[in-house]
């Protein structure tokens, strides 16, 4: 991927005797690590010491950023990886240090984000003795990570660290955990400066996929169907961003003027300010994106996986598409949810280039989709996003729109999980990929703040905004202070609706309004005082609608860490909404966006066991 593979030729320290800890740090440096996120503790102390000594010699080239809780370190590494395309690095101690990273590791797996987590472990002879701060990390992480290494043979340490980076970044990216007993860290051996583990099956499969170029026959069959299409649509997912294939995909889309919808993870794969961008599809996608999916006759899924938040009812997804083509790097995603008519498993940039070249020069496609374009433009204007603009309450959508005027599609936006996440996805613009950082598949509350911290280290020159909810930010609230400790100019926005807004929305729709454990109006937290206590020089509560644009302006222009809490309409909902188990034509558009179908009865009792 982007990150250069380890330079293997003649490492200046090759042949030097050093400790396992020093070897770990040397390989990290070789792999391009310029920041580590982590928390110290007994079983990782030797390696923390090696990082300290390395930094003393190299002008702090690998700073250690310390979160409030190891979960924060995991999300920082994730934010760093998502924003940069490089591998994020986490370093934690054994037992609780390692188990606190289980959630971010699973989150990275679910969103295909490359990180390497280095965990200390009790010394090899103590493994299995129920030692102090011992946990079976290989067992626990084996179930959630892309791969886990438990290093029992110190002579394999160096090759293992290097291989972990290779596995994290190749194929479908993901998290790799390395469990390193303390005696392995203290072991002394000769640094080789190169070498990887054989990982025979994995490497063979990855090579096979990389070498699987899009064939002429496949292009022919693709264009034979495409030539008959009058309403083609691209459905782009996070894979486009992970593969760094957005430029190639957009070139292909532009050449044939194909409108693009993106998934939550694919936001930014295509400039949302362009006319043929229909923004996000799915459960909380724009109405026009979902209607376009219903209306298209040829669907091109690129790095997307027909997730249940997109295709809740797979047989009825894109019901008018006579042909569905699917590009992915993971063979297991082909036909997993939706049987497709055509597929290609391979590297995306090459495939997009080949497809475009073949279409222009061999198939000589001369597309005229002007009817479809005017249909799409009609959908965009008729079913545009909208909300209650006359309400006395501050509307969350208006807050995002106001922030968007300053961010201009060029800021990094991270989020927690819930309503604020969906509003941010719907109302922000993104002119390029790797600006939108959200916990998509796992939906982990508490992701936003630490992810913003990691992203700011990856992109020190970009504006980074954490859009958070009053419930989500509580989950990793300790990292409010991490922002100020490291003097990061991160902008933290808490949209406070006094509760778990998304949960309340579901309870109102499907549980007769019984707000079980989701009402937080009795909480005593004063977020502004909390931010002030953590050293924020700008910490403001916005309660008056008339002050919205003034406060947002000063917040955005403030230099340094800034915090605002916006008291929003506690009843604001996320619309459109495709209910669980519903099709796009059953989409609830709310009171302010028109619906193409007769009003859907939202009072129907849905079997709650069926919903998730």
């Amino acid at each position: 991927m982007q990150q250069a593979l380890a330079k293997e030729e003649n490492h200046p320290l090759a042949g030097t005797k050093m400790t396992g800890s020093d070897i770990i740090v040397q390989v990290l440096a070789q792999e391009g690590t310029d920041v580590i996120f982590g928390y110290s503790g007994g079983a990782i102390l030797p390696t923390y010491d090696a990082v300290f000594r390395f930094n003393a010699e190299t002008n702090e080239s690998m700073p250690l950023i310390v979160p409030a809780n190891e979960q924060g370190a995991g999300f920082m590494a994730s934010g760093y990886a998502r924003a940069s395309g490089k591998v994020g690095v986490v370093m934690v101690t054994s037992g609780p240090g390692a188990t606190n990273t289980v959630t971010p590791v699973r989150d990275c797996m679910a969103d295909s984000t490359p990180i390497v987590v280095i965990c200390g472990q009790v010394p090899t002879p103590a493994i299995g003795s129920d030692g102090f701060q011992e946990a079976p990390i290989a067992n626990i992480m084996g179930a959630v990570a892309k791969h886990i290494f438990l290093i029992t043979d110190p002579t394999k340490l160096e090759a293992t660290i290097r291989t972990a980076f290779e596995i994290a970044r190749t194929g479908r990216p993901g998290p790799v955990v390395i469990d390193i007993p303390k005696d392995v860290q203290n072991w002394e051996g000769v640094f080789q400066g190169k070498g990887q583990l054989p990982i025979r099956g994995y490497r063979e499969r990855i090579d096979e996929i990389a070498e699987n170029l899009l064939a002429d026959e496949d292009c022919e069959s693709f264009y034979a169907a495409f030539a008959k299409s009058k309403r083609p649509l691209i459905y782009a997912g996070g894979g486009v961003i992970n593969a760094n294939a957005h430029a190639e995909m957009c070139k292909f889309a532009d050449k044939f003027s194909i409108p693009v919808v993106t998934t939550l993870m694919g936001i930014g794969a295509c400039d949302t300010t362009q006319p043929l961008s229909l923004h996000m599809l799915g459960m909380h996608g724009t109405a026009f994106a979902n209607y376009a999916v219903d209306d298209c006759d040829f669907l091109i899924a690129i790095g997307a996986r027909f997730d249940d938040r997109v295709a809740a009812v797979p047989p009825k997804f894109a019901p008018n598409a006579k042909f569905i083509a699917h590009f992915d790097i993971d063979p297991s995603e082909i036909h997993k949810v939706k049987t497709v008519d055509w597929h290609h498993v391979g590297l995306l940039p090459q495939a997009m280039n080949k497809l475009l070249d073949f279409g222009v020069n061999k198939a000589k496609i001369s597309s005229d989709f002007s009817d479809w374009h005017s249909h799409v433009a009609d959908l965009k204007s008729t079913y545009a996003m909208n909300y209650d603009k006359n309400s006395e309450y501050i509307q969350p959508y208006a807050v995002i729109e106001e922030l968007n005027k300053h961010a201009k599609g060029e800021a990094v936006i991270s989020t927690g999980v819930g309503q604020h996440q969906m509003w941010a996805a719907q109302y922000f613009d993104f002119k390029s990929p790797r600006l939108w950082l959200t916990s998509g598949s796992m939906g982990t509350m508490g992701f936003g703040l630490p992810a913003a911290i990691g992203a700011q280290f990856a992109k020190p020159n970009l504006v980074v905004i954490d859009i958070d909810g009053d419930a989500s930010i509580r989950m990793n609230l300790g990292d409010l202070e991490t922002v100020t400790t490291y003097k990061l100019p991160i902008k933290v926005v808490v949209l406070n609706n006094l509760g778990d807004g998304m949960v309340k929305q579901w309870q109102k729709l499907f549980f007769k309004g019984r707000l079980s454990a989701s009402d937080k109006s009795l909480h005593m937290k004063d977020f502004v005082k909390a931010a002030e206590a953590d050293g924020y020089k700008y910490a403001v509560r916005l309660e008056n609608k008339t002050e919205l644009s003034k406060v947002i302006k000063e917040f955005m222009e403030f230099k340094g860490p800034a915090f605002i809490e916006v008291m929003i309409d506690p009843d604001a909902g996320v619309y459109p909404m495709v209910g669980p188990g519903m099709t796009f034509d059953q989409m609830i558009t709310g009171d302010y966006i028109p619906s193409r179908t007769a009003k859907v009865d939202t009072k129907t009792e849905v079997d709650s066991s069926e919903m998730f």
Binding site: H147, G201, Y202, S332
Partner: protein, 166 residues
């Protein structure tokens, strides 16, 4: 449909649990699972018998191929293959057992591998169905205990599952 899948697996810590964990995490059935070393000390071979529609079996194979420690996967069911399982039956040594043991040794090619005054152990090798039939034949009151190995499988003809064939 019932499938017999062979897997070559790196001899690494936790590799087996990741294979079995994949089946439980994704809700796939395991009818039997055997694992043993091979002539190459760096890999083990797993034979897993599972049940599922074509789509499910395709997913199982694809998901197994995503495990870093998995070197190779072969669904033997697709082509001609040989399947064998061992059954050990420990029977009471009484009058009623005599006739049964005779049938097992004659019709099922069983072998008496232990004969003490308390119990007789009979070994039978064959495909799963044959062992099922053998077990049904034995009245439960004369059975002390029985143990099955789970199925082993190998492809017929030239097809092999070895590192060299990669």
């Amino acid at each position: 449909m019932r499938h017999i899948i062979s897997i070559l697996l790196e001899n690494e810590a936790g590799a087996l649990s990741r294979v079995s964990g994949l089946f439980s995490a994704r809700g796939y059935n395991i009818e039997s699972l055997t694992v043993a070393p091979t002539d190459d000390s760096t890999v083990s071979r797993i034979t897993v018998v599972t049940e599922g529609s074509d789509e499910v079996i395709l997913q199982i194979v694809n998901q197994l191929n995503k495990l870093v420690d998995v070197v190779k996967v072969l669904d033997l069911t697709a082509d001609e293959h040989i399947e064998r399982e061992v059954l050990l039956l420990k029977l009471h040594d009484n009058g009623a057992s005599k006739a049964v043991i005779e049938t097992l040794t004659n019709d099922y090619k069983g072998r008496v591998v232990s004969d003490s005054k308390d119990a007789i152990v009979v070994e039978i090798t064959g495909v799963g169905e044959k062992l099922d039939r053998a077990i049904q034949l034995v009245p439960s009151e004369i059975v002390f205990e029985l143990v099955r190995s789970g199925a082993l499988g190998i492809a017929a003809g030239k097809q092999i599952l070895k590192l060299e064939s990669m």
